[in-house]
Symmetry: C2
Subunit: 114 residues, 2 copies
DNA sequence: CCGAATCCAGTAGGATACTG
DNA sequence: CAGTATCCTACTGGATTCGG
C-alpha cells in the first residue's frame, strides 16, 4: 500500500480521492460489494479502461479489496476496506450539501411561478 | 449563477468542486478574505492562469465573491459567499480524515523501530 | 499587482478490437 | 464477464509575454 502524505491534511485526502471517478466508486461501494459490471453500470458513463485504472489505484492505496472468482463466466467483486469505509463521513457531507443545494436551486427556479 | 443539478446529490456536489484546485481555494478562503497573490502563494504551485480560471468558475457558480479596488498597484480580494461557506462541513470532513490517515501512516512507519 | 493571450506538453479518457 | 492493448482526441495546466 502506498503511503501518501503531505503537510496539509486536506491535501493528503485529495491525494487519495482527488478524482470524480474515485468518489463515484466510493459512493457505490459504500452500499456494499459490487461486481465490475455492476459498478460500471451504476456509475453510468465510464469506459472499462478508466474504471479499471481507478480501481487499481484505489487498491494500491488500500481503499478497495479485489476478489476474483474462478468461474465461467468470470466474476470479480470489489469491496471497500476498513480504510475505504472510513471515508464515509466525507461522502455523507457531500451528499448532504448536494441535497440542500438541489432543494435551494429548485425553489429558486419555482419562485417565478408566483 | 449557474445551476448545476443532476439526480445524485453527490454528483451535484462534484459538479461544483470536482477539482483539486477548487478544494484548495476553498480551504484558503474559509480562513477569510484573501488577495489574489496571497491565494496563489498559499496554494503553493499553481499558475496564475489556472488560479484565475478556477476563481472565475467558482464565481459563476456563486461560491466566491470578487472585489476589485481601484488602486495602484491594483488589489483584488476574494471572499466566499454564504454558499461557499456552506461547503465547510465537507472540508472539515476531509481535514479530519486526512489527519487520522497521517497519524495512522506515521505509526505504521515507526513500528519497525521496535 | 492582477490577469488576459498565446503557445505548447502531458495526460485523462473514450472507442474499438481482442483474450482468458 | 472482466479485463488488456492500441489508437486517438480533447482538455488541463504550465511558461511566457504583454497590458491596465
Amino acid at each position: 500500500m502506498r503511503n501518501k502524505v503531505v503537510a496539509c491534511p486536506v491535501e493528503t485526502t485529495l491525494l487519495l480521492i482527488n478524482d470524480r471517478w474515485k468518489v463515484m466508486i466510493l459512493r457505490e461501494l459504500l452500499d456494499g460489494t459490487k461486481r465490475f459490471g455492476e459498478l460500471r453500470k451504476a456509475i453510468g458513463t465510464v469506459s472499462a479502461k478508466v474504471l479499471t485504472s481507478h480501481l487499481r489505484s484505489m487498491e494500491e492505496d488500500g481503499l478497495v479489496d479485489r476478489e476474483i472468482f474462478a468461474e465461467v463466466p468470470p466474476r470479480v467483486e470489489y469491496t471497500l476496506t476498513e480504510l475505504g469505509n472510513s471515508l464515509k463521513p466525507i461522502l455523507d457531507a457531500m451528499k448532504d450539501w448536494g441535497t440542500n443545494y438541489q432543494e435551494m436551486v429548485t425553489v429558486e427556479v419555482e419562485q417565478p411561478k408566483v
